[in-house]
């Protein structure tokens, strides 16, 4: 049990144990390629993402390897452009969620005052909200906007992060080295940054993969519903939604972005699983992705 809390650095054993899992290795390589396409795609796209280059729903040919979409835009170019928003928005939301969640968790876990139950009850209320529902309520109030989407997805992720950080902080803060630092009279900010944060880093690392997958899923769902990014933006989720009428005539307009999202989330999840296992944890014990 005590080995779970990460009192000793397991980093030395981390990489070999991670690399030992074939699924984790495959996820890392393939996921890296998808990320490269998502971020670098716009530089190699043959056409601008919003240029109408031919008739609508044209089947793949030598000019347009993936055919054209409902307005006659090149599907390949839009696929190359459309990953940036998926990765960017989900990444921003995850990062923001960690900034807020870690702060709340540290405060609640370390304060030993009324602040702890107060913050944690607030987190409980947020957890009583189905995530997609929360985002839809926000979209009603704020209108479809990427900023509201990032803020919303971050908010949905905060309670789980805060809970994990709080319990890890409680674990660590009774250790000798922390008490020694308290006795030395170190200010709280230094204590949290130097003594506590490095010692809960593994806990955070084991958990951040599923948060990122969860963020991708939520961002994609809201964009698919048409309540996030607006046309003519090229976005994998939005592309699936706007090309649904061409299902029978030009299935590639849907299949290509669907395949990209699927590969991205599967790879991130495989890597997250590998990281968690190499740190001696299992994703199955967490309350999972969604």
């Amino acid at each position: 049990m005590s080995s779970r809390s990460g009192a000793f650095p397991v980093r030395a054993a981390g990489w070999p144990r991670f690399a030992h899992r074939p699924s984790a290795r495959a996820g890392l390589v393939l996921g890296g390629i998808i990320l490269l396409i998502a971020l670098g795609g716009p530089f190699v796209a043959p056409h601008p993402f919003d240029a109408i280059v031919g008739p609508a729903f044209q089947a793949p040919d030598s000019h347009f390897p993936l055919g054209t979409d409902f307005l006659g835009r090149d599907v390949l170019s839009r696929v190359l452009y459309g990953g940036r928003t998926v990765v960017g928005l989900a990444g921003a939301a995850t990062l923001l969620a960690y900034l807020i969640g870690v702060s709340i968790g540290l405060l609640a876990g370390f304060s030993r005052s009324l602040l702890d139950p107060l913050l944690m009850r607030a987190m409980d209320v947020l957890l009583a909200f189905p995530p997609v529902l929360f985002l839809l309520v926000l979209a009603t109030g704020a209108g479809p906007s990427p900023v509201a989407l990032v803020l919303g997805v971050a908010t949905v992720n905060v309670p789980n992060i805060a809970r994990i950080v709080r319990s890890a902080t409680l674990d660590v803060s009774v250790r000798g080295y922390v008490e020694a630092a308290v006795a030395r009279g170190e200010p709280t900010a230094v204590l949290l940054a130097r003594e506590i944060l490095p010692n809960i880093a593994n806990t955070l690392l084991a958990d951040c993969g599923i948060r990122f997958t969860g963020s991708i899923l939520l961002v994609a769902a809201v964009n698919f519903l048409g309540l996030g990014l607006q046309p003519p933006t090229a976005d994998w989720a939005l592309m699936i939604s706007e090309n649904r009428d061409g299902l029978t005539i030009q299935p590639w307009a849907l299949a290509a972005p669907a395949l990209m999202i699927a590969l991205l989330t599967i790879c991130v999840n495989l890597v997250a699983d590998g990281v968690a296992r190499s740190l001696g944890r299992s994703l199955d014990s967490e309350s999972a992705v969604r």
Binding site: S23, D124, V125, A128, F129, P130, P131, V132, L133, F134, L136, V137, L138, A139, T140, G141, A142, G143, P144, T213, I216, L217, A220, A221, F224, L225, G226, L227, A237, I240, S241, L247, T248, P251, L254, A255, A258, I261, A262, T265, I266, V268, N269, L270, D273, S282, L283, D284, S285, S287, A288, V289, R290
Partner: protein, 331 residues
């Protein structure tokens, strides 16, 4: 004085379960109240109220003022919140801003459709997750376990609209076995044409089943490693009996929580899945209401779904306490 201090703990100990239920339901109602405030505030974070959303950008100020008065938007927010809440307690969900109809009339048929979808999914989910979870756990480390574990890990990560789209491409477009959309005429029951339910249910199952299988597997593995299972084996019971009578029973409590989590997830999944298939349920109605910024409709449906979400949580907690006798007496 002594009698009072003696009596209190005894009374509490006599009905610890009832007390627990009361406490849990009370906390749930309190949470719902806070959630209702969040929803009320959330649907109007930005200026630009329901009236301007209905009339659009070119509305004249006098028309706006007229509609605002009609919708009682000229009253202060706390007053509007209280009248909304009071109406809810009397079963009045308010008036839709875009359809000029009571919200209740708009959503009752849709709620039934969503209920059918969720119920069928759940009926299939429970036995299938137990079957595959137990299969994987009893064959831990062998090829069947690897197959089940890895494929479920992959499927968990898929957004439900991607699962739905892929299923449509394969089974509706290529094989032409089922229709690609699940349209139901108003007043008709989706059960009268079961083939339209196949793909939506499969989509919902895809994501929720994978999750449930992994959790059941983890719970079973833990139970199979325990002392009492070891003891049962040493006593010479055959493996089948050990798995079903000893391990599975003890793995059931965490499984109930998993299924509750899954049902909660279904509420989100159903919104997207209904939209994918054009299925006229509560979720699709909500998505449309959000696009139209029909604030009264959104806030009532959202609160309704949040109430279901919280209720499921409570029921699951009570079931777990019921399944683990130890918890019934503990504080």
């Amino acid at each position: 004085m002594a009698t009072i201090t003696l009596e209190r703990p005894r009374a509490a100990r006599r009905y610890p379960f009832v007390e627990y239920v009361a406490r849990r339901v009370g906390a749930g109602l309190l949470t719902l109240l806070v959630v209702s405030m969040l929803i009320f505030a959330g649907v109007q974070v930005l200026p630009g109220d329901a009236a301007s959303a209905v009339l659009g950008r070119n509305a004249t100020p006098s028309a706006l003022a007229e509609l605002r008065h009609q919708m009682h938007l000229d009253r202060p927010a706390p007053e509007r919140y209280l009248s909304w809440l009071g109406g809810l307690l009397h079963g009045d969900l308010g008036q839709s801003a875009t359809a000029q109809q009571p919200v209740l009339d708009l959503i009752s048929g849709r709620a039934a459709n969503s209920g059918i979808l969720a119920l069928i999914t759940l009926i299939l989910l429970v036995p299938l997750s137990l079957l595959f979870g137990v299969l994987a756990a009893t064959r831990a480390g062998r090829w069947l376990d690897h197959l089940i574990s890895t494929s479920s890990l992959a499927v968990i990560a898929l957004p439900e609209f991607v699962i739905g789209t892929v299923l449509i491409l394969i089974f509706a477009v290529n094989l032409k076995l089922v229709p690609p959309v699940s349209l139901v005429l108003p007043g008709e029951s989706p059960l009268s044409q079961p083939n339209i339910l196949v793909l939506p249910v499969a989509t919902l199952l895809g994501a929720s089943l994978a999750q449930a299988i992994r959790m059941v597997r983890a719970g079973m593995l833990e139970a199979l490693r325990s002392d009492y299972v070891q003891m049962a084996r040493l006593n010479g019971f055959d493996e089948r009996q050990v798995v079903l009578r000893y391990a599975l029973r003890n793995a059931l409590a965490p499984t109930v929580q998993v299924i509750a989590l899954d049902v909660q997830w279904l509420i989100g999944g159903i919104i997207v899945t209904e939209y994918v298939f054009g299925y006229p349920g509560l979720g699709q109605g909500l998505a449309q209401a959000v696009s139209a910024r029909d604030i009264p409709l959104v806030q009532s449906v959202a609160l309704l779904l949040a109430a279901v979400f919280i209720a499921i949580n409570i029921v699951a907690d009570l079931l777990v306490v019921f399944l683990i006798p130890k918890l019934r007496t503990a504080q």
